[in-house]
Assembly symmetry: C2
């Protein structure tokens, strides 16, 4: 039983900014003078309109989105997006190009396959167990879109520059690094991101979609699976996940007003990552698993000399109040997820623990 809050390195659901959690807590029985909890107010009320509209406006300001872009809130996580995207866009024989950088890309490809859609895998890093991001890829100039996973939580890889696709819109699953850095939005036709890493709780997925992508989408699929349904109704065709959108709104407010925007967030994330990777690179005890030029600033994956030591590492860390350091069950090893809300204090505590654990073992 932890009497106080731990340093949380979970891969997702993950740490949220403490001031956001405190605000949710303090107004939980009476939201904004409504006399109701945020979980009890109507989504058709001025109270909730203010929440969702503020979340949309902050997203537009943080990412410098122009009027071509719609900001949507969809349920079902990135996993539903894996199916919704091909259902909407891959009609009339149109094809998509995928870059396969591991588990999540593989799942996205699999859903296109289940749907009997046209697609190609333009590049893959499977030859070396997905430990790098492919370079110099040639894409199909007629593809409807190029699908990438911007950050792989399991293999600890991240795209640091986005590929040149000769004008074909990039569709990026940014579930694990959305809002961690500024983006050049000219490259993207669509971005989607399950909230539970950088921007909120599980149960809501943000979708940013450009008008020309919306225009390409079919209307001959179920209402809840059409992006146009969400775009036409400000994400309120049916009752949206109100609590999740409210939490996102507060996280975006924290990003804008406390952190000071995405340039500052990126610098902070780079500083945290450098601390950890420098320790690993200067150590004979720890070994990073991803290629240097492909390393993730969100999920730092590493190995210890033996699996027994890895198990002990995770146990001893937990005793010191450092939680969530076990690698994904599919790959083993260790992983420190240091999303936006992971503080420098938490990373410093982890670095100190790692140094002393290496000395003692």
């Amino acid at each position: 039983m932890a009497e106080k809050r731990i340093f949380n390195f979970n891969a997702g659901p993950a740490a949220l900014p403490l001031p956001v959690l405190e605000e949710i807590q303090s107004s939980f029985l009476n939201f904004n003078g409504s006399g109701m909890s945020i979980t009890e107010i109507s989504h058709r009320s001025p109270w909730f309109d203010q929440v969702i509209n503020d979340a949309v406006e902050r997203t537009k300001r943080l990412l410098n989105l122009d009027d071509r872009f719609h900001v949507l809130f969809v349920q079902g996580g990135a996993s539903l997006q894996f199916a919704m995207a091909p259902m909407n866009f891959l009609t009339d024989g149109r094809s998509a190009d995928f870059v396969n950088t591991g588990t999540w890309s593989t799942k996205a490809i699999n859903e296109a396959k289940i749907l009997n859609k046209e697609y190609s895998v333009a590049a893959s890093s499977e030859d070396r167990n997905f430990c790098y991001i492919p370079k110099d890829i040639s894409f199909n100039p007629d593809a409807a879109y190029v699908h990438i996973t911007s950050n792989n939580t399991i293999k600890g890889t991240q795209w640091h520059t986005f590929p040149d696709t000769n004008g074909v819109p990039i569709m990026a699953d940014m579930s694990s690094d959305f809002m961690s850095r500024p983006l050049d939005m000219d490259k993207f036709g669509m971005i989607y991101a399950g909230a539970q890493k950088n921007i909120g709780p599980s149960g809501v997925c943000m979708v940013i979609i450009r008008k020309d992508m919306l225009d390409m989408a079919t209307d001959e699929i179920p209402s809840m699976l059409r992006y146009s349904t969400y775009a036409a109704k400000n994400s309120m065709y049916n009752t949206p996940p109100c609590f999740g959108i409210y939490t996102i709104q507060l996280v975006l407010k924290w990003l804008e007003e406390t952190v000071g925007g995405l340039e500052k967030m990126e610098a902070h994330n780079q500083a945290k990552g450098k601390l950890l990777y420098d320790l690993i690179d200067n150590s004979d005890f720890y070994r990073a698993t991803a290629d240097k030029d492909s390393r993730s600033l969100m999920n730092v994956t590493f190995r210890l000399p033996t699996e027994e030591l890895e198990k002990l590492f995770v146990e001893k860390a937990a005793e010191k109040g450092l939680g969530g350091l076990k690698g994904h069950r599919s790959v083993g090893g260790c992983r420190a997820s240091i999303y936006n809300a992971a503080t420098m204090e938490a990373v410093q505590a982890l670095v100190e623990f790692m140094e002393s654990f290496a000395k003692e073992n």
Copy 2:
């Protein structure tokens, strides 16, 4: 600005039991000694396993479910179920029978139509603006299922006994009266319910599905749209809506341990409904909109002599701390939603207000 909590008659999202909200609030920064918020813990942790398993077990006990039934948590609300059900079950030319009792049934029918599935409308109450529940319906004995909406929030109607379908499984959208009364589960092949009326916040939909329905479902549709995906993975194929499931778990605990089960909940709901309907029936000022034998115990819909008086009624009620009494925008009038969490105290306060408003106007 309400300094204290109001009496909340919203149709959904709706009032939740105050002890549940207080428990969420008090443990919001440190859930169950984890040192993390419920919004920050991993869905693959023992903390969350305990939450979801307890929610499933309580559902089984409350509804006396035997081992044939799976209890699932799905995102997308009832609106996604309108599409998922025909996608899963209406393959190989199989057909469904629908009973149309208003907006939500109509939407469910429309999604089957978008999907080019076989279906029939076995009965409808559209001839009198959906103010009653159809009786003496003859169903297609070869239908895959019979779809009904057990309670209509907009028209204020409710099925008080479920139809004889000659063994064809009933599929019921119970979004607005789930867990408000005991059920004879032998009649049902599937029940689904968006949580935001009787059992939790928006953003999670409960699905109870019988094994023979699961066996009938196709596997040739996207993973996130297959019931079998949820059944195989205890609703955790991908990250589930953890906060919503947690809130549901607490509401079910309240239903079992504080209320004392669904027989007691039903008696309480009948007493609340009687108070309101008796006042309306004994009044020349208020007029109930649904036929007596079809009236909902969840949503009491009524009219006043003029639209001006209805507007004034809603305004004056809000001034007295009685919120959410405006009828749905599609029908006008007034509506008091008195789900499980609406207290007798709230209903008595409303009755007193209605009596004095009638006298004064």
